[in-house]
Symmetry: C2
C-alpha cells in the first residue's frame, strides 16, 4: 500500500512554473508563450522548466489540465437550467484562466484543440446526458450549447468585441441563458 508522498520542496517550484505557464499561454497563445518568458515570470531559470517538464508540449499539457466542475442541477427548476448553465460557464471562465489558455492555444495548436474536444466529450456531453432523456439528442444539444458559450467567451474575452465586452454580466447571462434553454428543451427544428 502506498502512503501519500511527503510534498517535496521541488513541488513548489513545479507548481510555480505551471501557474506561470498557464498565464502566459492564456495571454499569448501557444507559439508566443516562450519558455524563457514563463521562466522569467516564475523567477526561475529556463533550464529548470525543461528539467521539470521535459519539453514545451508536456508543459502545456500540465498547464492546461482543467475541470469545468459542472454544477449539481438536481434542485434547479427545469425552466431555469439555461441561465444556471450560462452563469456557471461564465463564472468558470472568469475564475480560471485555463479556459482562456486552452482556447487561445487550440486555435493554432492541434494538441490543444484535441484537449478541447476531450473536455467537451468527457465533461459537457456527459453532463448533458444526465439531464436530457434522449441520449442521441444529448450530444448534439451539448454541442450547440458549446458553440454559443465558446462564441460568447471568444467575443468577450479574446476578441474583446466592444458591445460584448461591455455588456453587463447579468444581461449577457440572461440572453445566453435563453439560447441554452432553447437548445436543451426546444423541439428539433
Amino acid at each position: 500500500m502506498m502512503s501519500t508522498p511527503r510534498p517535496r520542496r521541488s513541488d513548489a517550484t513545479r507548481e510555480a512554473i505551471r501557474l506561470a505557464a498557464r498565464e502566459r499561454f492564456a495571454a499569448n497563445g501557444y507559439e508566443r508563450a516562450t519558455i524563457r518568458a514563463i521562466a522569467a515570470d516564475a523567477d526561475i531559470d529556463p533550464a529548470m522548466v525543461m528539467r521539470y517538464f521535459g519539453n514545451k508540449e508536456k508543459l502545456f499539457a500540465a498547464a492546461a489540465e482543467f475541470d469545468l466542475r459542472m454544477p449539481d442541477v438536481s434542485a434547479v427548476p427545469t425552466g431555469r437550467l439555461g441561465v444556471t448553465l450560462a452563469a456557471h460557464f461564465l463564472g468558470r471562465w472568469e475564475s480560471d484562466e485555463t479556459l482562456n489558455a486552452l482556447l487561445r492555444a487550440a486555435v493554432t495548436h492541434p494538441a490543444a484543440a484535441e484537449r478541447m474536444r476531450e473536455i467537451f466529450a468527457s465533461q459537457v456531453a456527459t453532463f448533458a446526458a444526465t439531464i436530457l432523456p434522449d441520449p442521441t439528442q444529448a450530444t448534439a444539444r451539448a454541442a450547440l450549447i458549446s458553440t454559443q458559450m465558446l462564441g460568447a467567451a471568444l467575443c468577450r474575452f479574446v476578441l474583446e468585441l466592444p458591445p460584448v465586452a461591455a455588456m453587463p454580466r447579468e444581461e449577457l447571462i440572461a440572453w445566453l441563458g435563453g439560447t441554452i434553454q432553447r437548445y436543451l428543451t426546444a423541439a428539433r427544428p
Copy 2:
C-alpha cells in the same frame, strides 16, 4: 482624370502571393504562417514577398481584406430573417477562407483582432441597423448574433468538435437560425 491603369505583369505575382498567404494564415494562424512557406506555396522567391508587401504585417493586412457581402433582405419575410442570415454566414465561411484566416490570426495577433472588430462594426452592426428599428438595441443584438455565428464557425471549422463538424448543414442552419431570429426579435430578457 485618371484612366484605369493597365494591369502590369507584376500584378499577377502579387495576387499569387496574396492568395498563398491567405491560405497559410487560414491554416496555421499568424505566427506559424512563415513568409518562406507562403513563398514556396506561390512558387516565388521569399525575397519577392518582402519586395511586394514590405513586411509580414502588411502582407497579412492585404491577405485579410474581407467583405461579408451582407445580403439584401428586403424581400425576406421577417420570420425567416434568422435562417437567412445563418445560411449566409455559413456560406461565406465555406466559400472564402479569409474568415478562417482572420479568426485563427485574431486569437494571437492583436492587429488581426482589431480587423475583426472593424468588420463587426462596419459590416455586421451596420447591417443590423438597417433592419432593426431601435438603433441602440441594434448594436447589442448584432453582437449577440456574432457570438453565436463565430462560436459555431469556431467549433465546426477550427476546433472541429465532432458533433458540430458532423451535423448536416441544413440542421445546423435551422438551429442557428432560430437563435439569430430570437436575438433579432425577442424582447430584452
